[in-house]
Symmetry: C2
């Protein structure tokens, strides 16, 4: 490195559909963090480099900076299309993609996603969290659940993702609670009993889900259902439907949850009713550990 | 009636969440129709009278005009809250509501809805279509299906609605195809085979619905699924989930469909795979016949 020294050894980037997060990494730890709402969804291809520089410029020196990014930044609508590795595969086994940049200080790699032929499925971003979890738990054999906008269930064996399924639970919850007629019946707040009952209800009769959603509206109109109970039941019905469909993944398995605290709380509660006691890992920790694992792979191949 | 004669004998109004439709009725037939996008959803209470006058003013004379309205105009957020009659009940059995008006020529009645205590459910507007269907088919005994934003299934016996259930199928289809990640994978067009396969798929394994939605996105990314096939499968999965949940309603029953042609086509196709051959009625015809039946009830009680 020539001239002015950089603040960071390398930079870790988590670039999803709605948010961009970057961390300055030094001596193996994040020493600074910056975020913006310039997610992949609002950017044209030419906008990615300025959006990134806006956040990380203070961390650059005059030399080249190694930057490792995961998430939807690698999608077809992203900065550069990174490949998908076909499962079974190690979560970081595939070649990373390199976007074209104007600023020669930027040495960027975008992590590849995973795909599954049948049933057809894809992931981008979660493979990095899985790699991070496995770097902290190398002997883990079992099932990982990553709840979120598009929840993922992944079967892990011998360090590989064997199979996985995606559920649109978080997106359905957001659409139904904010944009459907149910928005008139839900409010903030949490009713733990209503949640647990709804999970059990959806799991025991998943075929009735389509009928049970409007019941929330009707009960709030004619039976005094509170907004908090309606919201909790909506969450429970959708998570219950996910658990019913994902049963082959978790039944009798060793399950770990990776996600934000509030969401993994809800899934842990739901799974406990089924007799499971999932271990839990923080999503940001897993992402950072996965980006560090990817960085280590890059160092191996370039040394 | 004094002075200038009115163009209409009475006026029929279908006032839903998104649209307002009015018909000038003379000698038992609609002789003029007017529509606007001033649905209940965009109006404050003071806006209803001007929105209606804008459409029907040319049909008024100097005397009082009898106007009969159905739909969400009678909801809590509407012009006047009309009651709900508890089932089992005749579809037009309950007292109608009368909104306050400034223009003394307007003599308006808003038709009451129906409610069900357990499982909790409500309808507003469909009771009028049911009444219209029954006025044309007075001996009908069986099940009516009214597909739409909020599809209704109603069990009919001896002229009464015995029980009913609401499914948010149309609203889910709209949200998922226009506002979720699936919007990137669907286009206009129809693939009849994809629809029928998806209906069967959802009906045979309704618990897997939550997993099958994202498969549409994944197949379009990695397996060349066309936009028309994705849209048709989305429709089939949601209608199949509705049919799975509504099975106690239609299994072995005499079923009639009331709705717009394209929608009843889809439901009829789906039900035929199950061995049913539903009769079909047009939604507008049913609405007009129901409003006429309500008008006849008003005449009976005021004569």
């Amino acid at each position: 490195m020539t001239g002015e020294a950089a603040y960071a050894d390398w930079i870790a980037v988590d670039w999803g559909t709605t948010n961009l997060r970057a961390w300055a990494m030094r001596d193996g730890r994040p020493v600074a963090e910056a975020t913006s709402d310039k997610g992949m969804g609002v950017l044209d291809r030419a906008d990615f480099e300025p959006a990134l520089l806006e956040l990380i410029d203070p961390w650059l020196g005059q030399g080249r900076m190694s930057i490792v990014a995961c998430g939807m930044v690698g999608s077809r609508q992203g900065w550069v299309e990174a490949p998908y590795a076909a499962v079974p595969a190690r979560p970081l086994g595939a070649d990373m993609a390199t976007p074209t940049v104007s600023d020669s200080r930027l040495d960027i790699r975008v992590i590849a996603g995973l795909k599954q032929a049948s049933p057809a499925d894809v992931m981008r971003g979660e493979e990095t969290q899985i790699a991070g979890f496995l770097s902290a738990n190398p002997a883990f054999d079992g099932v990982l659940c990553l709840p979120g906008t598009h929840s993922k269930w992944a079967q892990i064996s011998a360090g590989e993702v064997v199979s996985f399924r995606t559920f649109m639970t978080g997106e359905m919850f957001s659409l139904l609670s904010k944009r459907s007629v149910l928005r008139l019946s839900v409010t903030e707040g949490w009713d733990a009993d209503a949640f647990v009952d709804a999970v059990s209800d959806a799991m025991s009769r998943p075929e009735a889900l389509a009928a049970k959603l409007f019941t929330l509206r009707a009960e709030s109109l004619i039976a005094g259902l509170t907004g908090a109970a309606a919201l909790s039941r909506l969450s429970g019905l959708l998570i219950g439907a996910e658990l019913a469909a994902a049963r082959p993944y978790w039944l009798g398995q060793n399950v770990a949850l990776i996600g934000a605290e509030r969401l993994t709380d809800a899934y842990a509660t739901a799974l406990k009713v089924q007799g499971l006691d999932p271990i839990r890992a923080d999503a940001t920790d897993a992402t950072l550990a996965g980006l560090a694992a990817a960085r280590a792979l890059i160092m191996e191949t370039t040394e």
